[in-house]
């Protein structure tokens, strides 16, 4: 290190003062390092959240310049008694349940197979992972092309294997199929996510446990249910937590695929919320809606994390 005048002064001064001259104290550095992040999050996350809470008690409309009135809990009351919102919640529940079901099923199976360590498994894993890294809006938009009744690749492939007429069904145009159309695309996109986490779980199981079971003459079937499944479970639950939160917030993919239609069969909560806030401009009402959604996610996630920790401790 070069001997700068500052260093010479520092050497000549007693310890406590020397520290102040030579550099900031650890505590000061800790604060200087953390402060910008906290400040940014307060400005862009917490301040808006408090603002939303405030707005949720008013009848404010962002596209009009009229007197804002306090309406107390009326917005909350209206949301909780609105049957349309319950339909939206049902659509979201359907989407959440089936996407998680298929992703866990296919994702775990794939991870289990990849863990057999056949040659070239790394390359194929990378290929399988690709869809989840792509832009959901761009991909969702392109899937509307694949779902075209006559010319779409999806309908053609289904027709090819089942023998039905490819123009006889419309994935995103029919009330019956549209909820499944969004489940298919989301499963296509996010199965690799569950797969990667399961794979990490499978790889974390030490070989000696299986060896011990083999010596005890436990059947492969029994080994699977008493060793593999319980040891992968915490990983699987983590994957479900992530997918659950993400899909509860789902917006971009579905809005591009179906726009919430036909009717409101695929109108998930985020899409419904966007309609209230940025098309109908019921800002106050939408704010109350946003708070209810946030509390729901936060509440469910907290309960789930507790359960997850209990499984981990076992």
């Amino acid at each position: 290190m070069p001997d700068t005048p500052l260093d010479r002064v520092a050497k000549a001064t007693p310890q406590p003062i020397a520290r102040r001259v030579r550099g900031l104290s650890d505590r000061a550095i800790a604060w200087i390092f953390v402060a910008p992040t906290i400040f940014l999050l307060l400005a862009v996350n917490i301040f808006p959240l408090i603002w939303t809470i405030r707005l949720s008690f008013t009848n404010f409309r962002a596209n009009r310049n009229r007197e804002v009135e306090w309406v107390g809990l009326r917005n909350y009351e209206r949301i909780l008694t609105d049957t349309d919102i319950w339909l939206t919640m049902q659509a979201t529940a359907h989407f959440l349940f089936w996407t998680i079901f298929f992703q866990v099923l296919i994702g775990f199976t794939l991870a289990y197979l990849i863990n057999k360590k056949f040659r070239g498994n790394g390359l194929w894993t990378t290929i399988i992972v690709l869809p989840m890294m792509l832009s959901p809006a761009v991909v969702g938009n392109f899937w509307t092309f694949l779902y075209q009744p006559q010319i779409g690749l999806f309908n053609y492939v289904v027709a090819f294997f089942t023998g039905v007429d490819p123009s006889s069904f419309e994935m995103i145009g029919s009330v019956r199929l549209a909820p499944w159309a969004i489940v298919i695309v989301d499963t296509w996109m996010w199965t690799p996510f569950v797969m990667l986490i399961c794979l990490a779980g499978l790889r974390s199981i030490p070989d000696y446990i299986y060896e011990a079971a083999e010596i005890d003459r436990a059947s492969k079937w029994r080994q699977f249910w008493t060793i593999t499944v319980p040891m992968v479970l915490p990983f699987l639950m983590l994957a479900v937590l992530f997918r659950g939160i993400e899909n509860f917030k789902m917006f971009d993919l579905v809005v591009q695929l179906t726009g919430g239609g036909p009717g409101s069969t695929t109108e998930l909560t985020s899409i419904n919320l966007k309609r209230e806030a940025f098309e109908k401009w019921r800002t106050g009402y939408a704010s109350a809606y946003a708070i209810i959604l946030f509390v729901t996610v936060f509440g469910l996630a907290s309960i789930y994390v507790k359960a997850l920790n209990r499984v981990k401790e076992r």
Partner: protein
């Protein structure tokens, strides 16, 4: 027989597993291959029945993606013969190129906002992660959880006040506004991932440096930063991919100047509906960087997508 051989799958099992996985992989990349192929089709080939796998490739989609075209009278067309290959493609439809399309600008916006927010979030994230990793920060766990919980909000829910805030501050539809917003969204990921990476660097290195007369700050950037380089790079790529792909905020808060590519690509329309070859061309160019990054990232992928919860 060695003990290890008991747990090694038999070669028949490996074969079956391999075939099933490769089968799934081939199905799953079909839509992506279809996007790339459609980009090189003529509009007629793109919407033919049955879907065409063999076709004569053309750059029409790419020409349409980057240009705006107008129909002209026969006299005008006869008086002005096409000069370039792309003019020639457009002439098939009695059209002439009127000017560049918006795609270039939107792509550039994605680059500016993506790199700007990535730089900021990794810069701030590294500082915060170092502090959380090495120092006693009061309420550390609460702060870390608070940082994570900001990710649980649906973007549309936060968008309402941010929309109002941006409108008041004049940040709507500006690059700066979007960079700050994406930084705030990415920073939770950056802090959590980087804390994991920095936790793995032995403290002894810095302690040795401190004894050698380095200040804490010098120890941080001369010892810790180079050690954390791989971690910082992969965190940066994750942040970049998020900003690159983000749609909800972009569609609500930008409309012109700062609009990124994801809200723009679906709006590419031709005569009578979407111009699918042009959309596919736009999507291909937009998705290629992400594919490259994913291949580069494969080792740290798991860590990135789980906020560092699973490290392999």
């Amino acid at each position: 027989m060695s003990a290890h051989a008991i747990t090694e799958p038999s070669s028949r099992q490996k074969w079956i597993a391999g075939i099933l996985v490769i089968g799934y992989a081939l199905i799953t990349i079909m839509p992506m291959i279809w996007i790339v192929m459609t980009g090189f089709k003529s509009p007629a080939d793109a919407i033919s029945y049955p879907p065409k796998v063999v076709f004569e490739p053309t750059l029409e989609g790419y020409v349409n993606l980057f240009t705006t075209r107008t129909r002209q009278t026969d006299e005008f067309l006869a008086a002005n013969p096409p000069e370039t290959w792309y003019e020639e493609i457009v002439r098939q439809y009695d059209m002439v190129i009127a000017g560049p399309s918006r795609y270039g600008e939107r792509f550039l916006n994605s680059v500016i906002i993506g790199f700007g927010s990535t730089f900021l979030s990794v810069f701030l994230g590294t500082l915060a992660a170092y502090a959380f990793s090495r120092f006693k920060v009061p309420l550390k766990d609460d702060l870390l959880f608070f940082i994570l919980s900001t990710r649980m909000m649906p973007p549309i829910a936060v968008a309402i006040p941010i929309f109002l805030m941006f409108r008041t501050l004049g940040l709507s539809d500006t690059h700066l506004g979007m960079i700050l917003l994406y930084t705030a969204v990415n920073i939770s990921l950056a802090v959590w991932l980087l804390k994991g990476f920095i936790d793995e660097i032995p403290r002894e290195y810095e302690e040795a440096a401190l004894i050698d007369g380095y200040t804490r700050f010098q120890a941080f950037y001369k010892v810790v930063l180079p050690q954390a380089a791989t971690g910082i790079a992969s965190t940066a790529i994750f942040c970049l991919i998020f900003s690159w792909n983000e749609y909800a905020f972009a569609v609500l808060l930008t409309s012109g100047t700062a609009q990124t590519a994801p809200p723009f690509i679906p709006t590419i329309i031709g005569v009578g509906g979407q111009d699918w070859p042009a959309v596919a061309a736009g999507a291909t160019l937009f998705l290629i960087p992400v594919v490259v990054f994913t291949v580069l990232l494969r080792k740290h992928l798991l860590r990135g997508i789980t906020f560092g919860a699973v490290r392999k």
